[in-house]
């Protein structure tokens, strides 16, 4: 009977001993999680206050970030979006740190991989943000310059430049995140090259007459234009 009881209790004792050894780790994880989430909340509040002081929402309106958020069906203020993003990043980091405290080999590997990957996520986010600003700036500059030159397809060309630049930036982001690097590179090369070839063929085949007209006009004697002698200054 005693043997039978021992047989029954031994595994339970073993579980209890293991749990006893594991309990401090679990407690540490819970404490890390609690403190981390509290800290993340404090950081979010402070960040929102700071963003309000520097008028981040107005700046985002000017830079076109707000428009971008609305296009993505996000109707929160840009400052709230940034605050929320930072909060969740901190929560995820806390969760990873908490899981690390459990001292489980499989989880440790996962946590190590996560922290190794984090710099890539950060640099990809930076590339995306700067790339978006750069793309908007270039596209707007092209649009205004072409409109002021009286070019009829100004918007079309500016949008084409915006799309091409965004494609290039997205390819850079994917490469940075190491997501299907080869596929992305190949897809980008095919797409970019395809667009260029398509344009060349479209102009070469479809636009033979247009091309001829342009060349003829270029080398023919300029037709007399209505004069414009106005002095603006």
């Amino acid at each position: 009977m005693m043997d039978f009881l021992n047989l029954m209790l031994e595994p339970l004792q073993e579980v209890f001993v293991k749990f006893e050894a594991f309990l401090p780790n679990l407690l540490a994880m819970l404490v890390i999680l609690a403190v981390g989430i509290l800290l993340a909340r404090v950081v979010r509040v402070l960040l929102l206050k700071f963003l309000r002081v520097i008028q981040f929402d107005s700046w985002s309106d000017r830079m076109g970030f707000t428009t971008l958020l609305r296009k993505g069906d996000l109707w929160l203020k840009p400052s709230a979006v940034l605050g929320g993003t930072v909060f969740w990043i901190l929560v995820i980091v806390t969760l990873m740190a908490g899981l690390g405290a459990l001292n489980v080999a499989a989880i440790d590997t996962l946590v190590a991989q996560f922290f190794n990957y984090l710099p890539r996520v950060f640099s990809a986010a930076v590339i995306l943000a700067i790339g978006y600003l750069f793309t908007s700036f270039i596209s707007r500059a092209v649009l205004i310059t072409l409109v002021n030159s009286g070019y009829h397809y100004a918007r079309l060309l500016a949008e084409a430049i915006r799309v091409l630049l965004m494609l290039m930036i997205l390819a850079m982001v994917m490469e940075q995140l190491q997501i299907a690097t080869n596929v992305v590179l190949a897809a980008f090369s095919i797409l970019f090259g395809g667009i260029v070839i398509a344009l060349a063929i479209a102009f070469g085949v479809g636009g033979i007459d247009t091309a001829r007209r342009i060349v003829e006009q270029k080398f023919a004697e300029e037709p007399p234009k209505a004069p414009d002698d106005i002095e603006h200054l």
């Binding site: 707007r140 409109v147 002021n148 100004a154 918007r155 002095e231």
Partner: protein, 419 residues
């Protein structure tokens, strides 16, 4: 402030000259075929009206490749008897050198200010090197109010064709007048007289790496003089006829540089202009007479096409600057027939004030913001051309005056939104 832009040999030349009563600055760039006439007119003016004053002509050149500086060195009036001199004549000294700094009229002027400061000049005058209508009397009219009248700044007053000077007539003059309350008709005229004291004051300002160093210098000089309480006058000089502008000069850049300088000055002098309401005439010298002006051709169809192109493509940018109400009014203009096209003065006033506020609030990069104004400005210009086409010059001037009053009446809106 130390003279930082002048070379050592220029300093040596200045030391040789010692002191001077008058400095005449002529900024130039590839003006060999016109600058000779300007130098002769200046020499004659100095000899005829200021024979007892020691004067130095300073040609501040932007690196001309056509021998402009050689023309300045070699130009002199052979027979002063032809201009009926009977006074003792102080020699007119000359110096010509390439200026340093950002290429532009502003950098050329900076060098003139530095020479004036080094020579302790009592009065200075600057005139463009491409003028064909300059006479010796211009020198008298720009200098006498400074030397004898106690004025610090003399702006020019010209007769120009009613279609010319549209940036001045539709933006710079109404805005400057409404902001600072002084009716200086040609705030960016290009030819000015000013005291040595004012030249020294200009040099204390750190603006030489900005658009002031380019096309913005004229409005900067005028506004700085007015806003800092210097005594301002204007002199009637007759017609302003100058060499045809380089066709490559980009209107968008010109508009951007002038308007950005004007708006930047609004930032600097917000405390000066916000309490000002209404405007006062400034003392005007010279005998005003009617002058014959060459016909000016304007291709309104092409200009209207550019305005409509802007309407089609820049809608989103304009919406962020003008707001939905004013944009709707602009859109209505786009639907008008060419011959009936009319840009209401009140709308134009609000547009300029909206742009000033957008510049103040940095809603867009300054260059994008102000270059997006070009199609609207072109629309306003077409409207003005169509409206004043059948009018006499004085009637066209009355229309400009009405626009100025509109700017003055609308100033409360600007002041409210500026805060």
């Amino acid at each position: 402030m130390d003279a930082v832009t002048l070379r050592a040999d220029i300093h040596q030349q200045i030391e040789q000259f010692g002191k001077a009563d008058i400095v005449v600055g002529i900024p130039s760039f590839n003006s060999a075929h016109t600058i000779g006439h300007v130098v002769r007119a200046v020499q004659a003016g100095l000899a005829k009206y200021f024979p007892e004053c020691k004067a130095v002509i300073v040609n501040s050149d932007g690196g001309s490749s056509d021998g402009t500086m050689e023309v300045v060195h070699n130009t002199s009036i052979g027979d002063f008897g032809t201009i009926l001199l009977h006074h003792r004549i102080e020699p007119v000294l000359k110096m010509a050198f390439p200026y340093s700094g950002i290429p532009g009229k502003g950098s050329a002027f900076r060098a003139v200010f530095e020479v004036a400061q080094a020579l302790e000049a009592k009065a200075c005058v600057v005139v463009d090197s491409d003028l064909r209508s300059i006479t010796p009397e211009w020198i008298e009219l720009l200098l006498k109010p400074v030397l004898n009248g106690g004025f610090d700044y003399v702006a020019p007053l010209y007769h120009r064709h009613k279609f010319d000077g549209t940036i001045t007539n539709s933006i710079v003059y109404p805005l400057t007048r409404a902001l600072y309350g002084q009716q200086v008709r040609q705030p960016i005229g290009g030819d000015f007289g000013f005291s040595g004291k004012l030249a020294q004051f200009y040099l204390t300002k750190d603006v030489w790496e900005t658009d002031v160093a380019r096309f913005g210098i004229d409005i900067w000089m005028t506004t700085t003089a007015i806003a800092n309480g210097f005594k301002v006058a204007q002199s009637f000089l007759g017609a302003k006829i100058h060499d045809a502008k380089d066709p490559g000069t980009d209107l968008g850049n010109m508009l951007y540089q002038v308007v950005s300088s004007t708006f930047q000055l609004m930032e600097n002098y917000a405390e000066v202009w916000t309490p000002v309401r209404g405007s006062q005439p400034v003392p005007t010298f010279g005998f005003e007479y009617t002058v014959g002006l060459e016909h000016v051709n304007v291709n309104t169809a092409r200009m209207l096409a550019l305005f409509r192109e802007g309407l089609l493509n820049l809608r989103e940018i304009w919406l962020g600057i003008l707001g939905a109400g004013d944009l709707k009014e602009v859109e209505r203009l786009g639907e008008m027939e060419d011959v009936k096209f009319h840009f209401p003065m009140a709308l134009w006033t609000r547009i300029i004030y909206d742009y000033a506020i957008a510049f103040h609030q940095k809603r867009l990069p300054a260059e994008h913001l102000l270059k997006s104004l070009l199609p609207l400005y072109i629309g306003k210009t077409v409207s003005f051309v169509l409206q004043v086409g059948p009018m006499e010059a004085h009637e066209a001037e009355t229309e400009i005056d009405k626009l100025c009053l509109e700017f003055e009446h609308g100033k409360d809106f600007l002041c409210t939104c500026w805060k």
